[in-house]
Symmetry: C2
Amino acid sequence: MSETLTEIGEFGLIDRIHELLRVSGAPVPEKTLGIGDDCAFFQPRPGYDILVTCDCIVEGRHYLTRFISPVNLGRRAMSLNISDIGAMGGRPLYALVSLGLRADTAVKDVEAMYLGFVEELNPFDATIIGGNLTKSEGANFIDITLIGEIEAGKSVRRSGANPGDALLITGYPGQAAAGLQILLKAPSVHDLEDHPLVRAYNTPSHRAREGWAVAHSGLATAMIDTSDGLLGDLGHICKESGVGALLIQENLPVSSALQDAARQMKRDPIDLVLKDSDDYELIITCPPEHVDGIRSAITGLNDIPVTEIGRITEMAGDIKLKSADGVYHNLTASGWDHFSTLG
Amino acid sequence: MSETLTEIGEFGLIDRIHELLRVSGAPVPEKTLGIGDDCAFFQPRPGYDILVTCDCIVEGRHYLTRFISPVNLGRRAMSLNISDIGAMGGRPLYALVSLGLRADTAVKDVEAMYLGFVEELNPFDATIIGGNLTKSEGANFIDITLIGEIEAGKSVRRSGANPGDALLITGYPGQAAAGLQILLKAPSVHDLEDHPLVRAYNTPSHRAREGWAVAHSGLATAMIDTSDGLLGDLGHICKESGVGALLIQENLPVSSALQDAARQMKRDPIDLVLKDSDDYELIITCPPEHVDGIRSAITGLNDIPVTEIGRITEMAGDIKLKSADGVYHNLTASGWDHFSTLG
């Protein structure tokens, strides 16, 4: 039997985590206080704004332990917060990790989860400086607050899109959500680990470096990550910017893996691209003359495509799709909504 | 029937919260971005360190809805985070509120909770700038990250206590935990609202202003709040400072309400003072010649007593109590431990 939290207790677990972070995490910067006091503290860099985001995932709702290993769960939970910092153009610095854990949780699983956290933080020299442990009677949960920095005034918001702007997307949104569907329908998940869509689900990429490059180019008018799905997050841009959008169906990026999966699921691949997400691509808007500039800011960082999928229009909240036959369809910006989508 | 979260949905609830904060919260400072983007951001003050803390309370474990109103629950959840900022000597600035809520939760209860949050934040002109809403299948939970500031280098840590230092405590620790015991044993809680110990439990005071004053006096060597109980948190100071402590029993502050309750519960009042807490007093250490200075830094802010209860000793981790008959007793610094105290 694996050692459980009951056996080592809260303060025993804190000591283990402390040791793991000392060995495997990036060093805590000078003049920064990490775990072990009433608060953590750090010295902000002059001329920089502080960014802060917070995202919580709950077992059974946002992840299923039979599909994802503890280390990948840690990576995923941290990635989605890093994605939020990146979608403003910032760089992650410090994380606070708040966990709700059942007393029978295996200590080694918690340690593996922390390894996942630091695997995602280390490339940025970002560190875990605090958090909270509490006993959960029901589902485990992982609630992360991530703090980042950005040069003052450089952050790219949702609210800056203008009619006529080009609409860009990185990568292939919808792959991770399709990967989840594949896992849910498979009789056994063992041989699916290397399926490209399952990989997209279990180890999603954030685009924080790309977001940083876009913000520093100064060319984008709005940016957001696709955590609520392409359509849901495009809806957020439209709402906050008071604009509409026109998507060109034939321009939407559909990976060959997603094409295959859509065929097997008997779903329209465009539906998979537009709706559920669980991957963390970036939607970027910019004046048409800056599309090349945005592209070259991102190119060189990695080989993900940056696709122009439509443009921003005038009528607030009006989102349309022009299909290959030239017909215009009204779309509802129905992102991921926890409460109202319940049966 | 009250309107529930299922009816208005996640984004409906976000709109309600947004509106409530606009009407009832302190105004979001200039150059600060609140709720409504991938991240919040703010501009830190030059010459100040950023403090950050995070505390989570879970229904059924840290609070029982039959004992505490939603507005008091909000006040309590925010107070315990404010207490952590205060225990370093800082001032709260920004909160992120992450809630796990069952779909059948009443919207008005969530709104009342937010009113509780802002009631505690407004006196500091502190604002809620972000958070997260997620559906809980089991217990509701409230996870708050609170960000504060302190002049660079002024924070008072747990690790600075020296042998020979005087040991001070504010107020009457143990009252809130005794209030909870009274509630748990009462056949009906209706007529108990005004009981002083129940009040201490339902609307605990933080000592953030006092902590700020202590830090700015520059006279304290260590400070901590009593969230893990007087003994538990004294244990944290001893561990981090590599020292021991001697408590003088007859100096421990016992309120008359706690005396009465101890008699009724057939418990030793000293036990109630030392062990469970749930109130947020400050333990402060300082060289004996600075006791008066610390006292006068706090006096004038309010009329809580500051009591000298013993002194710091040399032997690391050795905590003793000298009883009225002159006998020395060994104490174990057993604070509040979530996992190992389970049956």
